[in-house]
């Protein structure tokens, strides 16, 4: 029965948050049922809405990893935003530099590698600072975000600016041949596949490999891990590296699937939402997939809420906040519900 807990508790929490949100919109003078219906319609109500949701979910899967993986070794990293920016920067530089030099397949592959390497190293630095210097990783990753964004803005408006980009400063394009297209006839770009693949691969790493097991030991009890002779430092940095690499891919997708060039908009705000996804998925890479879909759906429905109910765009922020808070509060229920047959033995 305890196996049901990880499924039922979040579902119950979701229902509770929707009820609370219903009270909120009712207080604001709207009919909650109609609002629910619009959220459903905007997120999952039709194939059009599904595509809308999917295209938002893929970067969330990748940025969530930047918080989820370090969390497995006990670090709370909020540097997804910075890794996205650095990944985008690396991908754009490679794309621009190699445009026309190599075949598109090779350029895309190299952009991917560069984004993974740079995003990964960016966050690995946070892990290394934590491990070797005791620098608080939450704060340093936050600062890394601001620094990455400042560097991006500087480059886009200065050295990398394409003079032809008139009213929106941007770099020269990476070339339309080097762009990642959409899946079949849909309007969802291939980034979705990247996101799913990353979630599955990292789930295997976390759940099925010795390394993943060692990471969990470190996350559970670092002293025991030391005593057991685990290479704690290496694993901590590796977890950050993998997380950062995933977020770097999200940045590469912004360049290669959405914008086709570098501009300040490649920082599309998926970094902070990814933190939310990671915590809601309890840092489980596989659970990140449905949570990212849910969050992507909520964000996708924001526009419809504005247009059909005249609700401000902040409505979806409030909804996300409520869901986040309720699900976090529900963490305390694990092992305490009637479903857990032998209370007291858990954890």
């Amino acid at each position: 029965m305890r196996l049901l807990e990880p499924l039922l508790i979040p579902l119950a929490a979701l229902v509770v948050s929707l009820l609370l949100f219903g009270v909120f919109v009712a207080l604001a003078g709207h009919n909650p049922l109609q609002v629910y219906h619009s959220i459903y319609r905007g997120a999952f109500g039709s194939w059009f809405s599904w595509q809308n949701t999917l295209v938002r979910a893929s970067p969330l899967m990748l940025t969530a990893m930047c918080t989820a993986l370090p969390a497995r070794v006990g670090l709370i990293v909020i540097g997804g935003e910075g890794a996205v920016v650095v990944g985008a920067l690396a991908a754009a530089l490679v794309g621009i530099g190699l445009n026309g030099v190599f075949a598109p397949v090779a350029v895309i592959g190299l952009m991917l590698l560069a984004a993974m390497a740079c995003g990964g190293l960016w966050v690995a630095a946070v892990g290394a600072l934590r491990h070797y210097r005791g620098v608080n990783e939450t704060i340093s990753s936050l600062l890394f975000n601001y620094i990455a964004i400042a560097i991006l803005n500087f480059l886009v408006i200065g050295p990398l600016r394409d003079p032809a980009s008139l009213n929106k400063p941007a770099s020269v394009p990476i070339g339309s041949d080097n762009m990642i297209g959409n899946i079949a006839e849909s309007s969802v770009h291939w980034g979705l596949a990247y996101g799913l693949l990353a979630c599955l691969t990292l789930w295997l790493v976390v759940r099925r490999s010795t390394m993943g097991f060692a990471m969990d030991v470190i996350g559970g009890n670092p002293r025991a891990a030391y005593l057991a002779g685990l290479p704690v430092g290496r694993l901590v940095i590796l977890a950050c590296l993998l997380g950062g690499a995933a977020a770097g891919v999200a940045g590469m997708l912004e360049v290669a699937a959405v914008h086709g060039r570098l501009s300040s908009s490649v920082n599309a705000g998926y970094g902070y939402a990814g933190i939310l996804v990671a915590f809601l998925a309890r840092h489980n890479p596989l659970a990140i997939i449905p949570v990212a879909l849910l969050l992507g759906g909520i964000r996708a429905s924001g526009g419809l809420l504005q247009r059909s109910h005249d609700l401000p765009d902040a409505t979806v922020l409030v909804l996300q906040g409520i869901i986040f808070l309720v699900i976090l509060a529900s963490e305390s229920l694990y092992g305490r519900t009637p479903l857990s047959q032998r209370p007291g033995v858990t954890r």
Binding site: N52, N153, L166
Partner: protein
Amino acid sequence: MKRRSLLKGIVAAGAASAVAGLGSRAAWAQSKVRMGFIYVGPRDDYGYNQSHFEGKSAVARLDWVKAVDEENVPETIEVVKTMESMINLDGAQVLFPTSFGYFDPHILKVARKYPEVKFLHCGGLWDASKHPRNVGSYFGYIDEPVYLAGIVAGHASKTGKLGYIAAIPIPQVLRNINSFTLGARSVNPQITTQVVFTGGWSNPVKEAESANSMVDQGIDVLTCHVDSPKVVVETAEKRGVYCCGYHTDQSALAPRGFLTGSEWNWAKVYIDYAELIRANAEIPNLVRGGLREGIVKSSGYGPAVSAAAKQAADAVRQKFMDGSMVVYKGPIKDNTGKLVIAEGVEHGQTDITLESMDWLVEGVIGTTKG
């Protein structure tokens, strides 16, 4: 009648080659004209987004128009999805994505996918050779009232130092700074304009800090080109210097120091478009216009404006109205000493080359490089 001829008159290059796909859609004739508006910031920011929202509200009052809008839409895939959503879920026939950064690549991408929908972008530079025909752009020569504000500022300033708080160095911002400076220097050639770029369209603390720093440097007239001028105007008033508004009317925010301001009148543009669509007429790909066409206007003069200043500004306004005014008339040097417009060369307001301006005129202290 007047409106039609106006739109025709102000259409610049490329219009002739553009055939709107809308002509074939007679089916729409019975139903309402459906328009979608997209803003990058909040609807009520006392600035750019509000000016468009006011335009949308005006056109939405017509009983044969159905207008939807969405605020705070970032220049990312979000705007792509918002446009598609307005087309698919609200049946929008014409979209007005109003932020500069929406144009390339987002509008161009979606426009190719929905050839039967019109995409009219505010400020973009539509190019017949490169861009889809169902895309168009509209903009106002707001630098005309800005030039007038420069004249008024030139009269009001005692220190001869003006301050311009701007978001980022892009052509439309640079053109405003240059026109303001040229206006002021037409009064007194010794006047300088100090520019501070805040790096973003909305950053109130930096805007206030820039305003304070400039007043500390002896600057006594401030103006700005950011999304919401509220902070700059209020800071100027607090510090006891003069200010010129932008985007909408801010005179109420600075009862003592407000000189004049430059405002959009999008209601006119949007109603014109709505009527063209209703009449199934061809929609021009480039719509431009200034004071004469009523797309932009000046805010009323504040109490601090002298009679001489009013007279000087109104005289030039008259020349804008009759089309005889040319702001960019050579010789003009940039602020590095380079001759950018040669002797005898004139760029009239409708000249599209002015829309890719990348220099600051002599007398401006600042640089276009980050």
